[in-house]
């Protein structure tokens, strides 16, 4: 019994404490160093942030170079795939075009009605949001974090919490800012919680990501009247984001009895985004 315990101890010591052939560090030292790094991540000190920011910027740039061959491959594949599905898409687009033509006349009327109502309630129509365009630099969806990296950071005044739009639709918020880059946490991520309002039912809810394509609406009022096709907008509650940024539309999942949200933007096809500089800078 004692001998086997000793053998175990020797084996553990040999594996973790001894430097192997051509090894510069022992495993134990590196494990301790990794643990220290994790703790350092929680400390928000300026010098540490600068080092982190520089390191991240460096790695992002290297990653962009490293992913270049893969990007070429996937774009070539998409090119051929698009050609194959061209005829199928043509029919669908014809139908969609017809529907859109019908919708335009409806939306013109609604726009007119909306502007008249705004005048009635003396609402100050805000000027266009203060948007800043950025390119998606790195788009690596991890199973635990649905996010991407954009090519502007604190050098352009980006701050944590700013809303990120694809065209005019809301897709996520800034969660990590470096000097030349920033990370956008998408609405589909497990950690994403966005206060929203439904239209026309007018119910408030929290849009919750699950790491899947469609986030769901949670904390809806008990007797809500949400139906398929209802639009979802940011509510602007708590002043987190500007209100009225469109996100998607409701698609009820009868099997799981949840209200899922079909996003306006295809998050896998985003190349450029707009960062809304308004909400955070206003608060400050």
């Amino acid at each position: 019994m004692d001998t086997s315990r000793e053998d175990f101890g020797i084996a553990i010591r040999s594996a973790f404490l001894r430097k192997g052939t051509q090894q510069r560090f022992s495993l134990f030292v590196l494990i301790v160093f990794s643990t220290v790094l994790i703790f350092l991540e929680t400390i928000e000190r300026k010098p540490l942030q600068v080092i982190r920011s520089l390191l991240k910027d460096g790695v992002y740039r290297s990653a962009v170079v490293a992913t270049y061959p893969l990007k070429i491959f996937s774009s070539t594949y998409n090119f051929f795939e698009e050609h194959i599905t061209l005829y199928k898409n043509y029919d669908e687009l014809l139908k969609e075009n017809e529907e859109l033509k019908n919708d335009i006349s409806k939306s013109d009327f609604l726009e007119l009605e909306n502007s008249q109502l705004r005048k009635l309630i003396d609402e100050q129509t805000e000027s266009q949001s203060n948007l800043l365009s950025a390119r998606v630099m790195l788009d690596k969806q991890s199973p635990y974090l649905n996010s991407f990296v954009i090519n502007i950071g604190s050098n352009k005044g980006i701050k944590n919490g700013m809303a990120v739009l694809d065209g005019e639709s809301f897709i996520g918020r800034i969660v990590d800012v470096n000097y030349f880059s920033a990370r956008v946490l998408l609405v589909t991520d497990l950690n994403s919680r966005i206060p929203v309002i439904t239209e026309p039912s007018g119910s408030h809810a929290i849009l919750t990501g699950h790491g899947k394509k469609k986030p769901t609406l949670e904390y809806l009022p008990e007797n809500h009247k949400i139906e398929d096709g209802h639009k979802i907008y940011t509510s602007g509650k708590e002043g987190i984001f500007s209100p009225g940024l469109i996100i998607g539309e409701v698609e009820t999942n009868e099997e799981e009895e949840t209200a899922e949200v079909l996003l306006i933007s295809d998050l896998n096809q985003i190349t450029f985004v707009n960062v809304n500089l308004d909400n955070v800078s206003k608060k400050e």
Partner: protein, 163 residues
Amino acid sequence: MGISSKNYWFKFIDTLPLIILFIISLNGSSVINIKFFSINIHYILVYYWVLRKPEILGYGVIFLSGVISDVVLGLPFGISSLSLLFVAGVAAYVRVVTVRITLINDWISFIPALLFANFVYFTSLYFSNYVVDYLYLLKNSIFTFIFYPVLWAIFSLITSSTK
């Protein structure tokens, strides 16, 4: 094959795990998701090479690839490094206590490596206030375990080509 070209081939084979390791890290593709399947090739790569040819894949390199992975995937620094080092630790222990190289031995001892690594990974994520999908973790661990022999066979072919 002449002597010099043979040498180049051996050198290439020797650096191949390193190249794959850094490509995986920089591409952020340590976990491959194909429909229902989810495999962590980072763990398999580290486990196999630390077990079979530790002189090729240094612990420092593993640590560095973990840090790169964390940056690319947007996780707090050190989480992937720590879990990869635990995989390497189990592999180093198994190397010390086993004599014969068999797939079954390697495969079974890969279970504690996976358990340790995932425990460390998700504990760290939990304390860093990241939401953890436990079902996904289970699925990923199972498929990584199942897929191990496939990569074991490929890597064994690579190592045998240098003999």
